[in-house]
Amino acid sequence: MWYHKPVVNEELLQSLPNLRIVASSGVGIDHLDLKLLSSYGVKVSNTPFVVSTDTADLGMALMLASSRRLVEGYEMAISPDTEYFPADWLGAEVSGATLGIVGMGTIGYKVAERAKAFEMKILYHNRSQRKKEEESAVGAVYCKKIDDLLQQSDFVMLAVNLTPQTHKLIGKRELELMKPTATLINISRGLVVDQDALVEALQKKIIKAAALDVTYPEPLPRDHPLLKLKNVIITPHIGSATKKTRRIMMEEMIESIQAGLAGLPVPHEV
């Protein structure tokens, strides 16, 4: 299944008595009721590591585009109303700033590797601390308490998976702990953020800006306030959107399906 559809519920499973395996695209499995599927004897697979590089690249792209005001700048450069480029039209530098990565898994770590080349100071919050060699390779400092990361970061990047523990991980309290000059970047899942609290925080300038590849729902309803805020960039869940990666995802799903149907061990079984 590509992108969370069809919805796998009791009704669907009952109508497909011969279903042996659900192969899901991407790494996230928050859209699947694993207990339910297991109770019907259906296996589940995903496509974990192949999406990591492109998603990390997009996280960097969003952080840079937001900080340097790329979308606004593009609109100004092509607008028929633009007569000259104002000399005092400025953005903020990513180079040398502090990046706080929430969720230092495969994707989070790849973001850290990229950010290091911009001489960023890297903080991270994770369920567990990474090995010393992994930390020093990217110069990352562990923040056991998320508060410490939020208070010190110029950019907060969310790279956790969605679980009951990370649901609304970033709410009103967390946004208020962030610097008023900070930017929130989300490449995880929309529900990791309390979206209404985010809207309020952006409107009241409690944080400076947000760049989101994921929202809840996707797409947002046409009249949603996030679509109107000037300091927000939203992309349509394109974290893994390169032809090369999508092709490999498809191949992995087919591999898993073939193994599942043949009763063999399923690669990337969840």
Partner: protein
Amino acid sequence: RGIRVGYTPDVLTDATAELSVALLLSVCRRLPEAAEQVKGGGWTTWKPLWMCGYGLSNSTVGIIGLGRIGQAVARRLKPFGVKKFLYTGSGPKPEGAAEFGAEFVPLTRLAEESDFVVVTCALTPATQGMCNKDFFSRMKKTSVFVNTSRGAVVNQEDLYDALAQGQIAAAGLDVTTPEPLPTNHPLLSLKNCVILPHIGSATYATRNTMAVLAANNLLAGLRGEPMPHELQL
């Protein structure tokens, strides 16, 4: 007429290199186009190949002009999984190139082998109009072209043709001739051409530093003293 000239090199290297990479990523992942789809309602259902761009993993990056800014660009691109760096210019720069294992090649070879081309050279009589029909025709159909040097290094009509005919995949320009482009300029109509309003050094921190440096140059000049950064004429 005996007029001295001060300028502000070096202090804008990081900001400009950063913007070059920001532009490259925005172009290859189609960020402005995708953002427009979100706002404009073009995002209806999700399809696996919709809005797909290009990744940097295992790519070859060609840098035209491996000076301070070019090197700072290479440094930032390296951890994105770039397999090979090529560069061209008036001559090889072994010390600068060593950090990236960059190979000095003729302009034609750089065009033929690069997945991403970044132009960070100075505008001189030798580089004027250097990126022209011949150059673009040698580039790969899947390649991305980024210019953050000066508009005049690129032949804009030839670039338009290359983009419109699919000779290259996409382009990002922080600089054009003139700035801004006239409202009916064909480059403005292309979805696969991202244009920025010359913001390479446009950060608060960098412009502050530039302003202070320029003022110090001026004061030194008025006092008849050596300038912090004087252009040798």
